[in-house]
Amino acid sequence: MSGQTFAQKALARAAGLANVEIGQVVDARPDVVLSHDNTAAIRRIWLQFGQKRVVIPERIAITLDHAVPAPTTKHAQNHAEIRQFVQEQGIRNFFEVGRGICHQVLSEEALVLPGQLILGADSHTTHFGWLGAFGAGIGRSEVAALWATGELWLRVPESMKVVLEGELPPGVTAKDFALRLIGDLGADGGLYMSIEFHGSGIEAMSLESRMVLPNMMAEFGAKTAWIAPDAKTTNYLAERLKRKAQSEDRRFGKSFETLAVSELQALLLSMALFPDPDATYAAVHHYHAADLEPYIACPHSVDNVVPLSAVAGTRVQQAFLGTCTNGRLEDLAAAAAVIRGRRVAPGVRFIVIPASSEVLKAALEKGYIQDFVEAGAVIGVPGCGPCMGNHMGIPAPGEATISSANRNFRGRMGTPDSEIYLASPAVVAATAVAGVIVDPREIGG
């Protein structure tokens, strides 16, 4: 038998098989099933099965994040229906309005662990590759089917290996690397594949930077993405598991309170799955960090990527910092460093939405929120904000937005007649200050 990719090992585990071949269709049992504001619609599908109880309440995680707090009565009814369902079904892992974006919250809560399978009714479920899990997006009917049966068919995907060597230069971020990769190979460059990230450049990244890469692979067409969990990863998860030790006992069948963080780390590492050195890859791509620069995705496609300098000077009316891609503390820190002591340009709205309440609290403690407010920025409730055009910063027709989000499709933020540019947090902040797209390094940021 030839070497196995991460995807093969993860899906074999989830299907209870010794090994699986690429292309094989398996019935997999996910460890976590995620849904968000779409839970009410999923419940209506599930009701058609005539069940009184979902079969996997302990594996369901629900976060209200896509339109929070409710902007209309209809959204509020939707949330109310979800709360009732959560109560009826005894779902413990429910996160209310304001806690944050599902992928960030489930990461902070250490609900997904290395080697596990998470399926979610959200395309950015690829996110959980940052911690060495297999995350994939599915549809609403599929989540309903999982609630009813606990399993779902998945085809074992081909894998692409992406190697980043060397540390990213100052001013160049994981977002820039993701944009470069998507720009080079196209929005379908990783279509259907499992994207494995390797190399010293990935190892050198902070965990928050690593989170950007699997998250953005949804825009690459990928089924899932993976980064090797290391001591940084297991420390993050172990400390969080330890904090909520008692409620976690059921998951591992042993008491956490007696375990040291280092013992928990060893336990997490033993769950991790690593590809074999001789695994089969459909493609391998090498990048050198030193060759990368700040990039920007221009309207109306995420693979319409150019070096930032190519569109410098383009006027914007709105700047948006946030989302599951770039709404974390590190992102707010980078933006605050640019904006501190400056003012948002006249004619520009700068909207800052932390990815979670934990990020918001930390940003308050660090003084970043103060920096933003003093500069004239608007702070929003942790959640997805205007990313998919629901509320809290819909552009007017004819306006341009620069955003730290992941998608710039026509109409994405609510109107087909506006333009969206995607860039890293520091570029978003610098552009808010300048009123035109600018490299923060050029304004002394």
Binding site: I45, A67, S123, G139, A145, D188
Partner: protein, 164 residues
């Protein structure tokens, strides 16, 4: 099964935001209303003029973007018979099959089919017919075919639950 209708032909990377805008995902819930917004930001003439059996022809990566299932159901509710594309984004592909909407990968047919012309799909012979000729397409994997044959995932799961 035989599907006959006119071809609505579009390009590469037709994303879910132009198929069914995100701003409607939690507020538009009725079938007729979902149908009315189909392809709203791509082709505003579509929803008013599409007829049952019509076929959508797309290029590469059809349905990329969000996991929203309405991107598939808004087409189903309009009676769209099938989507033929060079390639599909994986979640759209699953959503289509799970709702009984045929999603056929056939690059040769995509190239040959002219906008507005009549297209026939014969699912038993697995062939697409248009003015330019006949184009065969590959079978679905047996386990997935079971879902399509049941009429979609909900029916499939109902049957499964009834037998266990």
């Amino acid at each position: 099964m035989r599907i006959t209708g006119r071809a609505w032909k579009y390009g590469d990377n037709i994303n879910t935001d132009v198929i069914f805008p995100g701003k409607y995902t939690y507020t538009v819930t009725e079938r007729e209303e979902i149908a009315r917004h189909a392809l709203e930001d791509l082709d505003p003439t579509f929803a008013a003029n599409v007829r049952p059996g019509d076929v959508i022809v797309g290029g590469r990566n059809f349905g990329c973007g969000s996991s929203r299932e309405q991107a598939a159901t808004c087409l189903v509710y309009n009676g769209v018979g099938a989507v033929i594309a060079v390639s599909f984004s994986r979640i759209f592909y699953r959503n289509a099959l799970n709702n009984g909407l045929l999603a056929i990968v056939c690059p040769a047919a995509v190239e040959a089919i002219q906008p507005g012309e009549q297209v026939t799909i014969d699912t038993e012979q697995r062939v697409i017919r248009c003015t330019a000729g006949e184009f065969p397409f590959p079978p679905l994997s047996p386990s997935v075919m079971g879902i399509v044959e049941a009429g979609g995932l909900v029916e499939y799961v109902k049957r499964k639950l009834a037998t266990t």
